[in-house]
Every structure is written in C-alpha cells, then in structure tokens.
Symmetry: C2
Subunit: 324 residues, 2 copies
C-alpha cells in the first residue's frame, strides 16, 4: 500500500504539495495538480480518510491577537503571517486586544468552539490559567505561558550586540530605555543581555523603564526628555524598539543633541521606518518573515495533532546605519 511519501517521490513533488492537492488547500498549479492525481491513480493510492476528514473539519481560520495593528511592528508581522497563512489556505482574523480584555476572551472562546483552528498571540491580558487549560493550538510571540509553544527572536543576543557596538564606538556613559521589566516578557532579555555585557566591562548603564500603559508617543517623549536632562553626559543609548529610538531622535533634535556625533543610538526590530528615518537607525534586526512563517507552521502542525517543540528562538543581526 503506497504512502503519501511514495506518491510525492514518484510525482517529483514534496509531501506538502501532495497533501495540499488532497485537501484542496493552498495554491497548486493546474499541471502539478494533474500530475499528482495521475500518479495517485497509477499507484492506486488511497488517502487516509480519517486524516482527511479531520482536515475538512477545520474552519481554516486563524485568530491573531495583537496589542494594535497600527503599531508598525505588528503591522509588518501580521502582513507576513497573513501572506504565509493564506498560501496554506488559512484566512486570518485579527483582534486588537490592548484596550479590551473581553476581545481576547472571545478569540479563546472561538478556539474552544472550533470556529478558529488556532490562535497566534502577540499579546495577552487574560490570566495565564485561561490558556493553560486549553488543549487547542496556540502559539505566542515573545511570551512564555506554561506549555504553549512560542516564537521569539534571540533577545538576549540582541542586547549583547547592542552593548558591544556602543562599547566599540567608544561610548563612555551608556543608557537604556525599555519596557516594564517587572512583566514576564521574553523581550526583557534584550535588557538583560545589554546590561550584563556592560557590567562585564565594569559599566553600569542608566536604565529607564517605560510604564506598562505607555504606548503614546507623547509619553515616550516625556520619559526620554527626563533621561537626557538627568544624564546630560549620555553618549550611547539602546532603545528596546525602533519606535522608542525614533522618539529619541525627535527629542535629541529638540535639545540640539547631534546623532551620532554626541550620542550614538541603537533600536530593536528593524521595522521599515528604521531605514527611512533621518538619520537612519542602527538596529537589531528580528527575522520577522521567518518568525511569522514558523508561527503559522506550528499552528498548522498543532492543528494536525502533531507534537511540536516548545521553544523557537530565531537569530538576530545588527544592522548598522547612521545613528552609530
């Protein structure tokens, strides 16, 4: 009895392609589709009907919960997720959760009632217990919740790279602006890697944490202004996001602080605006497209009742531009 693998080899395509032809999912050219069907016929291949009916029972919809799609990091991430999910036949429901705990719960309820096949979370406000109880496919970004698989960039390494570059550039008084470190977020490892690397060189950075609710640019500006006024000798700064770095450029410009001459600045993410800013921002690049594909693949495999590893940490690179 031939397997799906045998069909794939004989047709000269991947197992995934055969699977897509069987389940009528994703984009398969007419010629490939015909070839796969011809080979299946020749080999008298019988698809596993149980697996197929499981597949058919899916809603082919995924939920995506993020703080807000208006934030360019989540906009770019969601763009990649939608593109890839769509190529596998999934539609994507988006949910801006930041202001509304109830909305997050609705997506979890949709998951429980099989109206979505999985949920990708870039945000969570519910108690962790709500998720732990679930058996259904959930994948998180930069959040570790019990046994839920997560995708993350190598935040710690990103912090190390930022510290090393500022040190190599000769910075003597270094500062760091980041999110609230008391929250249990993997993104905090950016700060850990940064601070530990400086301490190894006997340097203690000035660290400013933004409050949990800080998402407005005017709040960013106020905090940055305070930092630069209290520490006028700061000559190197690592911001835990490009958006924060953009606000640093703005505040420095109003204070007459020249970047990079007087202050060297590094961001995190490499959103498209990092390159567009004036000066363009040196930043730690997260491999957004790869992270997006990985998250969708994990959901797809969980939905097919596969067991997947818990931790998925992707490498970061430093992109040097005009701010350093």
């Amino acid at each position: 009895m031939p397997t799906i693998k045998d069909v794939a080899i004989r047709a000269g395509v991947t197992v995934t392609t055969v699977s897509r032809v069987l389940n009528n999912r994703g984009y398969i050219s007419q010629s490939t589709r015909e070839k796969v069907h011809r080979v299946m016929k020749e080999m008298h291949y019988q698809p596993n009907e149980i697996a197929r009916s499981l597949t058919r029972k899916r809603s082919m919809m995924l939920g995506m919960i993020i703080p807000t799609i208006a934030h360019p990091f989540f906009g770019e991430l969601t763009n990649y997720i939608e593109n890839y999910a769509s190529s596998l036949g999934y539609k994507l429901l988006i949910c801006n959760s930041r202001m509304d705990k109830q909305k997050e719960k609705e997506y979890i309820d949709m998951l429980k009632s099989n109206r979505v096949d999985g949920v990708i979370m870039g945000s969570h406000t519910l108690d962790v217990e709500e998720y732990v109880k679930l058996k259904q496919p959930i994948v998180t970004f930069d959040r570790r919740i019990a046994d839920i698989p997560y995708v993350s960039s190598d935040n710690y390494k990103g912090g190390v790279l930022a510290a090393e570059l500022l040190l190599n550039k000769g910075c003597k008084k270094i500062a760091h602006i980041c999110g609230n470190l008391s929250l249990d977020l993997l993104g905090n490892k950016r700060s850990e890697g940064f601070i530990e690397t400086l301490r190894h060189r006997s340097m203690e950075p000035a660290v400013i944490e933004l409050g949990t609710d800080v998402f407005e640019h005017s709040d960013y500006e106020r905090v940055i202004l305070k930092l630069l006024q209290e520490h006028p000798d700061v000559d190197g700064l690592f911001a835990s996001s490009d958006i924060i770095a953009m606000n640093v450029i703005k505040v420095c410009s109003s204070l007459g602080i020249k970047i990079p001459e007087q202050l060297k600045l590094i961001g995190y993410d490499d959103i498209q605006f990092a390159a567009l800013m004036n000066p363009s921002i040196t930043t730690i690049r997260q491999p957004l497209e790869e992270m997006a594909k990985l998250a969708v693949d994990l959901i797809d495999r969980l939905a097919a009742a596969e067991t997947v590893p818990l931790e998925h940490i992707l490498p970061v690179t430093i992109v040097e531009r005009e701010t350093t």
Copy 2:
C-alpha cells in the same frame, strides 16, 4: 403596535442600542440592557421575527481587502475598522491582496456564499464587472466602482490646501509627486486640486507620477532623486502620501537640501509617523477614524438590507509642522 423607534424613545436610547439588545450584539451595559427589556415588556413590543432571523443568519464576519497591512496608512485604518467593527459584534478577516488576484477573488466568493457579511475594499485588482454583478454589501475606500458605496477623504480639497500653503510660503518653483494618474482612483483628485490651484495662479508644477507597481522605498528614492536633479530650483513639493514625503526628506538629506529653508514639503494622510519624522511633516490629514467607522456602519446597514447613499466624502484639514 409599538415600533423599535417607540421603544428607543421611551427607554431614552438610540434605535441602534435597542437593535443591539434584541440581537445580542455589541457591548451594551447590563443596566441599559435591563432598561430596554423592561420598556419592551411595558410596551408589549414584538420584534420583527423575520428581521431578527435574517440578522441571526449573518456570519458576523467582515472581510477587509487592502494592498498590504504593513503599509502604515492601511495599518492605522484597519486598526480603527477592527476596533469599531468589534464593538458591533463583527470579527474582521484581513487580506493583503497586492501580490495576488486570486486572494481577492476568494473574499468575493466568501461574500457570495455568505461566509462573510460584507467586504471593505481598500484595493482592487479584479475586473470591475466582478463587483458590479454582486448584490451583497461592499464598501470601498477611495475607489468608485459602479454603484458600490465608497468612503473617501476630500482629496480635491486636500490638493487645494497644499497648493495654497506652498504659495503662501512664497514658493516659486513647485513640484508634485503622486501615484499613477491614469488609474481611476479618487486619490488622483489630490493632484487635480493641487495642479488646478497653481494654474489659477499661472504656475505649472513639475509632476512626477510613480509607476503602478512602485511600492518599494528604493523605487521612491530613485524617482525623487531624478526629480530633484532635473529640477534643482524646486522650492516647494507636495507628495501624495506621507510615505513619499518621508522618502523626500531622506533624499534631500543626502543631497544636502535643507527642509524647510530650501524646500518646503507637504505630505498626505497624517499617519502617526508624519509627526515623528525629523523634521516632522506638514500634511493633509484624513479623518481616518471617522472614515473607518463610516465604512463599517455602511456595511452594517447594507447587511440589514438598508439602502445607503453612494458617495461619502469626509473633510480634510492641513496640519502644519516643521517641513513648511
């Protein structure tokens, strides 16, 4: 026999609120819900069961087709649409259509088969005929297709405001960068209003059209560089989007052209980055949140079989910042 309007008046709420209580949709406070139910009981109100069953047959999902959610204009627009749609009980499916005609067709097919209640379009690549044939709820942004209702900012007025400001600032040699004017897009009225206002003052602007497929920043930069090299005396420029204006700042910086001293610059949209740029961008503000709400309300009314007006043009304002 009391109507839904009678109930609304007696309960001191809007018809929409009564409708939401009846259909158990959207967020209604417990006290309002109780009050509406009490009034319905007092008045012996009988909801129209046919209308209610029609309502219940809805999927309560909307499709949103945009070129790419990674573009900040569409990211911000989608954010507002999702927030408001969600308050009415709708979930939002997003589709990045730019690269894929097939994806757009899938959403239209979902609409035909009632798997979504309506489609909001910020992009279209299909032949107009595909839409004209449809009886179901579709609303477009900045696109006029046959009898489909559309929402748009007052593009013509935006162009006029931009021309007037550059003239008032004393600009003598004015240029304009815009999308492809041969496409039948309402956004082209920005150029019309701008050029006509200048012509009334006997001035002919240099106009550069971007190609239809220009969406990459490197392409923008090339076109802007060419413009500024061919017209080194340009002292005023109106870009048809803030993203183009951001690229102008970048190119001017590389050429040593000082903004606003040597060149005054105006963008369009007022995306959040317009204020964050260095210098911050003077721009024509589209009332994004109002446009988003209007589009969702139109879909909601079309889904309830109401007839709605075709044209919805919202006012723009000019926001003066550092580039002029």
